[in-house]
């Protein structure tokens, strides 16, 4: 580690390289910095990135089998599109509204009105029934269904299946390189099933009518405001093959040695008949 003269700056210059990037998954390498930086990034992603979630629910009619606070809790956990969160203000900081925290600058109003008609079928009240006052903020699967309807040919079936964005931290002690990938678990949204997130089921004659206010918040306050499902980081292992010992093995022994590892880490180069490390970096522990 270099030690500049006293009074000089000890700033580091981290480098970022993205390995994979999807709608709900990102994996990147972080180099030339410390594990504390990676951990701070991880903690901030989980707890301090602001999002929008339903925070106040006024129930007019509820004759369903679930009680009021149960339904309010479920409504709070519904993920909402939060691209507008950076422009919104926190309700406690908002000076435009008259103290009740429900003006246009700090909140978004939702309405839900469902009544099971006189048929024998169960009515499923889902997030698709939530009507937003602001089209920019709506339940995530409503936005997804809308986008899919718009561009029916361009939909990527893998985007919904991706479960994990992995944060890998690679270190090589003598060069101090770090690599980080972030893991974000996607919501349990099945690609083919666009019915929306189930809130409650209603029987014939049962009704649910409510008004909900969504506000900006951070994960530290309540987990419903956390944008990340999983964020992890790890040091990528540095693997070096002892060439002297490797040379004492026959070709068949080398082949069986390469195949013995549960994830594909090595390969047998057919030309030189040497065991080499797999060129494309994959996760050595779970092969993703």
């Amino acid at each position: 580690m270099d030690r500049p003269a006293a009074g000089a700056s000890y700033q580091r210059f981290p480098r970022v390289k993205i390995r994979e990037l999807k709608d709900d998954y990102a994996k990147f390498e972080l180099r030339d910095t410390d594990a504390s930086m990676a951990n701070a990034l991880r903690r901030v992603m989980i707890a301090e990135v602001p999002t929008v979630a339903i925070d106040l629910v006024e129930i007019e009619v509820n004759s369903s089998v679930l009680n009021d606070e149960f339904i309010a809790h479920r409504l709070g956990l519904i993920p909402l599109t939060s691209a507008a969160a950076m422009q919104m203000r926190f309700s406690q900081d908002c000076d435009a509204c008259d103290g009740d925290g429900s003006c246009e600058y700090c909140s978004v109003e939702f309405n839900l009105s469902a009544r099971a008609t006189d048929s024998d079928q169960t009515l499923e009240v889902t997030s698709n029934d939530l009507r937003s006052a602001d089209p920019k903020v709506c339940p995530v699967d409503q936005a997804r269904a809308y986008q899919q309807a718009l561009s029916s040919g361009d939909y990527d079936p893998n985007a919904g299946d991706q479960r994990q964005v992995i944060l890998h931290l690679i270190t090589r002690l003598w060069v101090l390189l770090f690599s980080i990938t972030i893991e974000l678990l996607s919501y349990c949204i099945f690609v083919a099933d666009l019915r929306g997130i189930l809130i409650v089921k209603l029987r014939r004659g049962q009704e649910l009518r409510l008004r909900a206010i969504a506000r900006k918040g951070i994960g530290k306050d309540h987990a419903k405001w956390s944008p990340a499902a999983t964020v992890t980081f790890m040091y990528e292992p540095d693997i070096r093959i002892n060439e002297e010992l490797m040379d004492t093995l026959t070709l068949d022994e080398k082949r069986s040695w390469v195949e013995s590892s549960p994830t594909k880490v090595f390969e047998l180069d057919p030309v030189t008949q040497q065991v080499v490390l797999l060129r494309t970096p994959t996760c050595y522990f779970h092969g993703s």
């Binding site: 030690r3 700056s9 000890y10 504390s36 930086m37 701070a40 306050d221 309540h222």
Partner: protein
């Protein structure tokens, strides 16, 4: 029953200063900084940055209690520097490093 409100974890109440300073009476060039409404996210990063300064003899942080939302950073320096100087230098360097990281991300994404 005794649990504090969740917003207490990050909202600094009126009248409390975010960072306060206490000189150590028994050891020269030693001080404690108390940062309100912060946790390991800031504490670990500041501590690791202070370790990089050769004038800092001792740098550590602790959370006195998990339900009291503040951290105490304790710094001992040589006579060539002072705890305040080391702390300010560390925080400024972290600011620049995070700004650099932000730009590195913006270029990538």
């Amino acid at each position: 029953m005794n649990a504090p409100d969740r917003y207490e974890r990050f909202v600094v109440p009126e009248g409390t200063k975010k960072v306060s300073y206490e000189r150590d009476t028994k050891i020269v060039n030693a001080a404690s900084f108390t940062i309100e409404r912060e946790d390991h996210t800031i504490g670990n990063i500041v501590r690791m940055q202070l370790h990089r300064d050769p004038n800092v003899l001792f740098a550590g942080y602790k959370l006195p209690h998990p339900l009291q939302y503040k951290i105490i950073v304790r710094i001992h320096t040589t006579s060539q520097s002072s705890p305040t100087q080391a702390y300010t230098q560390a925080v400024n360097d972290l600011d620049k490093e995070l700004e650099y990281l932000k730009q590195a991300f913006e270029v990538c994404f």
